[in-house]
Subunit: 372 residues, 2 copies
């Protein structure tokens, strides 16, 4: 993995698992919510192939939690979330786009309902805490907002359930998708949700005590380090997430994009009577007007490309047709695959466009997401 | 510079100058406001020595601007800033701690007053834009908030003024500290302020057009690449900034600290009649009560230490005495120097404490900031 080293500082925080991650073959980091996030180990391609076959342990502590707690916590959560949280149930996680008043995306967390007056927004890479603080202050809400000492550790891959059952007991198998239950490890209660940033299945453990991190990692590793499980350290994998059509905030969309443009319609409470989240009116207007751009999959011709490091320009019919936001070579598909925020005309399946890669202009063709 | 490479993605944005930076001997990056920020070139020590003698060009595009514009822009700026901005004058920059209602620091930008209804907060590493958006939305303010296409390029060092005069004309010499004027480069107007994240003097050019970045870099480089100037690429230098007592948000303080604890009293409008910024009441109460912790300088005994990568614990009189937040070896001082958020008793000049470094416990002694 080419690239310059990242300079050590307190500002880019280490996680409870950093020591193990760095001793487990790490080859590249990214940063996320002011914290280190492992990005590659053996190689993106080998990490991906292993993830699809076996089980991996992921340091995703950088998925920080923004806790809303108190009398007005639910009111604030409902205002912030474009997904309807008015009947949110404790024990459930909700993928929830967050929008400003213009419908521009602020983040796309999982909102965990811990109790009627207590929520965690398990966030992508932007300071949702500051937005929530501003809203609460400006509206005079009675809600405490902070980032708790919670550092998610994910167990992902087809063997994740069997491995988790060995560590936490059979009860773990009963957790449904985006549901969570509380388990105990070394006397400390922790939430385990069936979720994670891959399409290979698995769990996220919301580990609530920094000093317990290495013990939890080691316990899972010990159980998984067998011919049966063949556990490895891993992380959200660029190839696997593009193949699976999983969007990445900051890569595929930002505050200049709406969730409609991101094709997230099914998560939006636009047609729910009584919903009153931020951006609702703007999104209704955009829906009426019709989209001028949207996310689309695309395949780029030619030799394998390196992971995209800046948005590639595109052209169709001699005009700008938007940008490619993520791209990588998929060995399994034997193709360069990507995601782009493209002019709406270009989004039609099979449209031929041109893409400016670091190696020059290439032919590409649009296709639906996910790829697999 | 040891450390793992940083993985390429659109989410960690390149700057207008990235191409030149990477061709000018870069050896380590950090990330800052979701963007790449150069952290070291030849070595921290050589970069520092050169900066004190000659002139450097710094890609500080990661100092992003949060623009407040419109009828209520001034009102919002005054609410956000713990420094009094009620009589802010166009053409001046104000170092302005920002606090939440409890006095916890949100950021410490330079607030540039562009016009009575237009401000840029030139921010440290947190999403001030989201906080401002939340406040404006919650209070129903009439203000537009966005991040403009402005990528600061700094020219720092004792020869900075002479070099800048060659590029922008003699008028540049008339700019006073934290004042700015507008200059033209290739037909594009840009603000130049006498400021920068070093104590060696210099300017920050608020370059307002991404596509113009390389031309501006090249023009300055061309003029500075002489035996007289000996220009080099550089960046905010850890050694120089600790020697000079320059604080770094996210390193030396965060939302768990107040500006009083950071010894920023002289910037606070606590005794200004009619000021009504966020956190004022909490800060007044803390001042009355007295501080229990504060920032202090300290010197750590023993062999040269590597740049601090996580807060070091400290002890004094057998008790926890706070944390070291930044530390590095200074060749010029022939000492390990640092900054710590320490128990107030330990802050007294000359107090002996113990510090837990990666190489074990060491003796240390506290001292005033700055060191030089």
């Amino acid at each position: 993995m080419a690239g310059f080293p990242i300079f050590a500082s307190r500002r880019i925080r280490k996680t409870p698992y950093t020591q193990r991650v760095e001793a487990s073959g790490l080859t590249a980091y990214t940063t996320y919510n002011h914290m280190l996030l492992p990005a590659a180990f053996t190689s993106l391609a080998e990490d991906c192939a292993h993830l699809k076959q076996h089980v991996q342990i992921w340091d995703v502590a950088a998925e920080r939690q923004v806790e809303l707690r108190g009398k007005d916590a639910h009111k604030l959560a409902c205002l912030m979330s474009a997904r309807d949280l008015r009947n949110a149930e404790p024990g459930r996680g909700y993928y929830a786009p967050l929008c400003d008043a213009n419908g521009g995306m602020i983040n796309d967390p999982i909102a965990l309902c811990l109790a009627p007056d207590r929520f965690w927004f398990s966030i992508a890479d932007s300071d949702v805490e500051l937005w929530a603080l501003g809203l609460a202050q400006g509206m005079g809400l009675d809600v405490e907002i902070h980032e708790p000492d919670v550092s998610p550790l994910a167990v992902q891959g087809p063997k994740a359930e069997d491995l988790m059952a060995r560590v936490f007991g059979e009860e773990v198998r009963s957790i449904r998708m985006f549901r969570f239950k509380t388990f105990e490890f070394q006397g400390v209660e922790m939430i385990i949700q069936r979720s994670g940033w891959s399409k290979q299945g698995g769990f996220e453990i919301y580990m609530p005590k920094f000093a317990l991190g290495l013990a939890l990692w080691d316990r899972i590793w010990e159980e998984g380090n067998t011919p049966e499980f063949q556990i490895r350290a891993g992380g959200p994998n660029l190839i696997e997430r593009i193949e699976g059509g999983l969007l990445s905030y900051g890569n595929d969309m930002n505050r200049t994009n709406t969730p409609l443009e991101c094709r997230l319609d099914r998560f939006l409470a636009l047609d729910v009577e009584g919903s009153a989240f931020l951006g609702k009116e703007a999104l209704l207007r955009q829906r009426d007007r019709g989209l001028s751009q949207a996310l689309s999959g695309l395949k780029i011709a030619g030799e394998p490309i390196a992971p995209l490091a800046f948005p590639f320009k595109t052209r169709a019919n001699g005009q700008d047709a938007g940008i490619v936001t993520s791209a990588v070579h998929s060995p399994a598909m034997a193709a360069n695959i990507g995601i782009g925020m493209l002019a709406i005309e270009a989004c039609e399946n099979g449209t031929e466009i041109k893409v400016e890669t670091p190696q020059g202009w290439r032919q590409a063709v649009t296709c639906p997401l996910p790829f697999v």
